[in-house]
Subunit: 323 residues, 2 copies
């Protein structure tokens, strides 16, 4: 993890600049695009009658901006499109318009390391109600939010790694109930997991599928390393784009990846554990259920380095022109 | 169902009056209390950063007003209190204040048959973030909405009954993932059920638990009648207050109630089926998976009559003084 300190140092310098900018630009603390209007994020409001609130009837995606460049933006837009199709939602803008509106919002905010949410909701019509009789195609609301980069695991914690538990009091929602490949905000099980982790003096819950297999956690995929190979759940989880980067790095490094059912018992006998998400990258776990798993291991380090290196590879990035 | 036409006629007369009132009182179309401010419902907004939206981290309850009187209001407040406790949410008002604020809002709206939502959300702090260091107790936002009475099954359809399907493409979220006794708005599975019902030319989905047992539908409990007894799911469902009224009526009428696992196969061999919810009462199902179940049966009629009679029993009602 030779590059770790360098990556974090660059981030800290840009953060200091962002705090300065915030004195001049109210959007530097976060910005929202709602109904064509750009506002500071803290002032942004939605109608309480939106079905995105009233029945969590929505999907969303989370691209991130790192050092002034969107990372794998096309992959996020692809997934958003698929999610919308599965839920029969139709955003009011074309893919190109969403792309441009997002880039414009990031640019106006001046935020060079950003967490971006693009949310499409059902809008005012509850799914039980019949379609309007005039048969005009429905357009569903879109909300775009840009805020300073979020770390699911604080970067200061990453060199030593964080603490996880395999939850005992809650299981993951099965895909037969809610399809986890459609990115959603129905976090009831994940919130119970977070509370259990906190109650047990830990931080990161790993939820099982109720049949002894590991699924995912509160906003992150989970990867085990055993005898030099990676193991991660195929079913019952979000098809993470950060995880996709992990697969790309593994392929290049000739590391075997098993995308399959992953027994929870592997957590206790594997050599390394890391979590991955757009909001934080590759996040090493070095303590499980209160027991040490040793220091951050060599494969995790290799993946970590590879992941952040990709952020400086123009193949994966879209440069923002700031105003 | 001798009383049915009478009940509906009274409702229609009050509806006509409500439409007239709407010309004078903008709250007659619906009213919201948010942050101490009363607004017309259509204008009511919440911060997009509310965790009730961003992670559906909330609970709620739905009392109804019928003919100027709240029905079983205490039961709804009891359940709301329990739900908040389970989610570790603390409303910013006492129970008595919530009661008074709700009654005041209904009174100001002038709506004599109302659907009421009392929603408590996590507010701005995501559950992963540590509590503020000043250690002051957190108060979570409360939103109270009043709108004209909602019929999950239109009253015009109730004499003939509606059409249901046992869903094939989706199962109910198991209680080990999200606790259904905590009333929630994470409707991903129920929305899939509604879409499947519509795709199959039907209306009301019945979801199983994935192990061959019937659970509940999109906002209603399900009751089967077989050989003069009632069968309804004990686990994996909301503990409905309308269903509680069904139990009360059954007890008085010496009808046996089996609160237990209920096999989905019973749906096909039972004598009568009805659904129950605060938003529509007792809702007969007379067609299942495209096959007729015959006319609305005698037990359903008895329960239907008993349910609406309770709305005129002062033991269960709280009279509103309209302004």
């Amino acid at each position: 993890m030779a590059t770790m300190q360098e990556i974090f140092k660059g981030f800290e310098e840009r953060q200091a600049k962002l705090v300065e900018d915030g004195l001049k630009n109210p959007l530097a603390h976060g910005a929202a695009l709602i109904d064509g209007q750009i506002t500071p994020l803290l002032d942004a409001k939605i109608p309480i009658l939106d079905q995105g609130f009233l029945h969590s009837d929505l999907t969303y995606d989370v691209p991130a901006v790192w050092d002034g460049k969107l990372f794998r933006f096309n992959d996020h837009l692809d997934r958003l499109e698929k999610s919308c199709a599965k839920l029969r939602l139709k955003p009011p803008m074309s893919r190109n318009e969403i792309e441009q509106a997002t880039i414009n919002l990031i640019s106006k905010s001046g935020i060079r390391d950003a967490y971006v949410q693009i949310i499409v909701t059902r809008g005012f019509r509850f799914i039980r109600e019949p379609l309007p009789t005039n048969d005009t195609p429905e357009n569903h609301p879109i909300y775009i939010l840009v805020m300073p980069y979020i770390w699911v695991m604080p970067y200061q914690m990453q060199p030593a790694g964080g603490e996880a538990v395999v939850t005992r009091t809650v299981r993951r929602i099965p895909p037969g109930a809610i399809d986890p490949t459609v990115k959603n905000l129905q976090w009831g099980d994940l919130i119970r997991g977070l509370l259990e982790a906190q109650d047990r003096g830990s931080q990161y819950p790993f939820l099982t599928d109720g049949d002894g297999n590991i699924t995912e956690g509160a906003g992150y995929n989970i990867v085990f390393v055993k005898d030099g190979a990676l193991y991660t759940a195929k079913k019952g989880v979000l098809e993470g784009i950060t995880r996709k980067s992990v697969f790309d790095i593994a392929k290049k490094a000739k590391i075997e990846v098993y995308l399959d059912d992953v027994s929870a018992s592997l957590a206790y006998v594997c050599d390394e554990i890391f979590m991955c998400t757009t909001a934080g990258g590759i996040m090493p776990i070095t303590k499980l259920d209160g027991e040490s798993k040793g220091e951050v291991g060599p494969i995790t380090k290799l993946i970590w380095d590879g992941y952040w290196a990709m952020h400086y590879d123009s193949k994966y990035t879209t440069k923002i022109s700031y105003e």
